[in-house]
Amino acid sequence: KQMTVRDALNSALDEELARDDRVFLLGEEVAQYDGAYKVSRGLWKKYGDKRIIDTPITEMGFAGIATGAAMAGLRPVCEFMTFNFAMQAIDHIINSAAKTFYMSAGAVNVPIVFRGPNGAASGVAAQHSQCFAAWYAHCPGLKVISPYDTEDARGLLKAAIRDPDPVVFLENELMYGTAFPVDDTITDKDFVVPIGKAKIMRPGKDITIVAHSKAVETSLLAAAELAKKGIEAEVINLRSIRPLDTATIFASVKKTHHLITVENGWPQHGVGAEICARIMEDQTFFELDAPVWRCAGVDVPMPYAKTLEAHALPRVPDLVEAALKVLGGKAGKAAAAAK
């Protein structure tokens, strides 16, 4: 059985709407248009105007309204057509949603999900291609999720909607149409994936590759390439950017003694930078046989042209090269052993 990421999100929304009548979806084109990316397809027909609300193109206003409704006890899912536009509303995400529980000493919680596609799409240039994982993960009070596949999308969106705190849910447009195999557990209506736990996508003993969202795909492909060279890479799908599951990363590094991080966002102060810092501050640092290496988006605004764009993000050969560099002499030994 297969299910696309889009259908995973759609079914998760559908089930949570059915489960809890405080849950509602609002955003641009979510109702009659069936969603700009068809994530909310069919929901308006099923749940009507009250639960699926089309908004005007006024991000700051509707993010504020959604946050206010959450303060008053509803559980809004606020869709941004893409997270690039959420920058207009970032004040409400940070100042209104993330900080209120603390400022009120726990009197007012804000159970809201801000969701939408994040990161680079294809051929849409700088203003529409940006990863916000590091931006939001910087802020205490928020939970930041970045799913990769169908299982992640379904389980984490459901967990996010049920969570009593503000959650930023960063999807990836390029993954929407990708189908992954699913079993009965994943399609169960009470399937949730715990927030704050990473998943080991592929076990290995030689080097750890940590990634999130679409970069997990690149990492898995790179791991397959490395396997041909006799190198067994362990691929970790972060799933949550905040809280960051350092326990899983540390455990893996203790096993492999090598680490590269992969992300499609910019390098400076990014997710990879944070992982490096965490390792430096932990005993795990002494487990490393080589410095940690970051693979991240090129430190420029996203260009439009196809080849330039492709080279602006980490590709499989980049990852392989980085892994070989980090492994150094060990790569050669592994290759020899494989032969």
Binding site: K50, G61, F62, G64, D163, P164
Partner: protein
């Protein structure tokens, strides 16, 4: 009751009839309103003094001169109505239900503070009061959102979203207007026009200063905001209007005697004479006091006595607040999340702090927000656990039954019991809403006991993590 006619107090925009000009006033209501206004004036006086003593830090915006707005409006707002305002929020906080002591303690940052010293002057909350807000204009869409919640729940409440003449030019206010009108939200947008946004006079900041007409497609009502009876009457009108027809804009024309905040002496952009003149001719307290005397609702002696009582009361409450305890240092890392998933909160150096929640003792008593707003349905790990437990109970029941079948009646009672236990667990694991009030901690596994138990504890805070099956977060 005494009757009187209000004059020159309203202007209407896109409204056929304004609020009634003839109003009634009972002695009781008069005394209440007078007391509230004088209490607030006194409280702000003490806040001013404390600020100058440096016990109050940072921002502190006083309400002196604007008392009639909050007092008059609160007379006509009902229990089910909500309020959200900007940073000049002391009077609103008090009138919405935070005691003077808790408020003063918050201003000076002590443990008894209504936000336990984490909010300060601009961030105080209570039931149906969604705070002051430090971001100019941000509270307006939030208020529209609270109104959306009223409409969504059909609870008959309205939300009052207040902002100043300075914020009136913020783009997000017009975004909120637009959606409120489109969706017919029971929202009252109130512009408290004190004629200066910080130091900028209205006509230097706004191309059009008739703020009650700024809704364009929304009706508006201009009110003399220094006359408490006018405000009261207009509020009744606005509440009725909002419930029947949707959003409405009100402009309360008022004046602030003090500077914008404590660092502003308030005289570089306006003359002392201007302030003195408003104080003498339009002071909300003095004018209401005279009104009460004219209507023979109270005597001069009674008023004098009342003044003394109020002063004593406010002073005593503030004094009590000022000698309160400091906020315990560990609360620095409390209540970041209502359901914390961070293994540790990072200290200045290193991950050292164990997050915890003080939410359930907020305001010195059990929290006022509905407990079911936090976690009334089995969520995440709790759901998985409940399910696991239900399956376990079922298996056990099956075993017992088998035993019964084999070994006769001996175990009959026990088998019965576990079967009963299994039932509500099944429910809790399912997609129930109304009855799924299982303990959010998953501690009781949604068993029969949990159903009876008060589900008052908001989300999982302390307490042991649920056992293995779901990989539960530690705190």
């Amino acid at each position: 009751y005494s009757c009187l006619t209000l004059e020159n107090t309203f202007k209407c925009y896109e409204l056929e009839n304004g609020p009634p000009m003839d109003v009634e006033l009972s002695r009781e209501d008069a005394i209440t309103m007078y007391t509230q206004m004088v209490e607030m004036r006194r409280f702000e006086g003490i806040a001013d003094a404390e600020y100058k003593k440096r016990t109050i830090r940072g921002f502190c915006h006083l309400y002196n001169g604007q008392e009639a707005v909050a007092t008059g409006m609160m007379q006509r707002l009902r229990k089910c109505d909500s309020v959200i305002t900007a940073y000049r929020c002391h009077a609103w906080t008090y009138l919405m239900g935070v005691p003077l002591l808790d408020m003063m303690a918050e201003l000076v940052g002590l443990k008894a503070g209504c936000s336990r010293g984490k909010g300060g002057s601009m961030h105080m909350y209570c039931d149906k009061f969604y705070g002051g807000n430090g971001i100019v204009g941000a509270q307006v869409p939030l208020g529209a959102g609270v109104a959306l919640a009223h409409q969504y729940r059909r609870d008959g409440g309205v939300c009052v979203a207040l902002y100043g003449d300075g914020a009136a030019n913020q783009g997000q206010i017009f975004e909120a207007y637009n959606m409120a009108k489109l969706w017919c939200l029971p929202c009252i947008f109130v512009c408290e026009n004190n004629h200066y946004g910080m130091g900028t006079r209205v006509d230097r900041a706004s191309a059009m200063t008739e703020f009650y007409k700024r809704g364009q497609y929304m009706p508006g009502l201009w009110v003399d905001g220094n006359q408490v009876l006018a405000v009261r009457s207009a509020t009744q009108f606005a509440v009725d209007y909002a419930l029947e027809h949707g959003p409405i804009v009100m402009e309360m024309s008022t004046y602030r005697y003090v500077g914008h905040s404590m660092s502003d002496p308030g005289i570089s952009y306006r003359s002392r004479d201007e302030v003195v003149k408003v104080r003498e001719t339009r002071d909300p307290i003095t004018s209401f006091r005279n009104q009460m005397l004219q209507l023979c609702l109270i005597t001069e002696e009674e008023l004098k006595k009342l003044d003394v009582e109020i002063r004593k009361h406010v002073d005593a409450e503030c004094k009590k607040a000022l000698i309160g305890k400091e906020v315990p240092l560990e609360e620095l890392y409390a209540d970041v999340y209502s359901k914390n998933l961070e293994p540790k909160i990072r200290a200045v150096s290193g991950y050292k702090f164990e997050h915890f929640g003080v939410a359930d003792v907020c305001f010195g008593k059990p929290r006022k927000t509905h407990p079911n707003d936090m976690c009334d349905v089995p969520v995440g790990d709790a759901a998985l656990l409940a399910k696991a437990n239900a399956a376990k109970a079922k298996a056990e029941a099956k075993k017992k039954k088998q035993k019964e079948a084999e070994g006769g009646k001996k175990d009959g009672k026990k088998g019965d019991k576990s079967a009963k236990k299994g039932d509500p667990k099944d429910k809790a694991g399912g997609a129930t809403k109304a009855e799924g009030k299982s303990d959010p901690k998953g501690k009781a596994g949604g068993g029969a006991k949990a159903e009876k138990k008060k589900p008052a504890k908001p989300a999982d805070k302390k307490g042991p993590p649920p056992p293995p099956p779901p990989p539960a977060p530690k705190k």
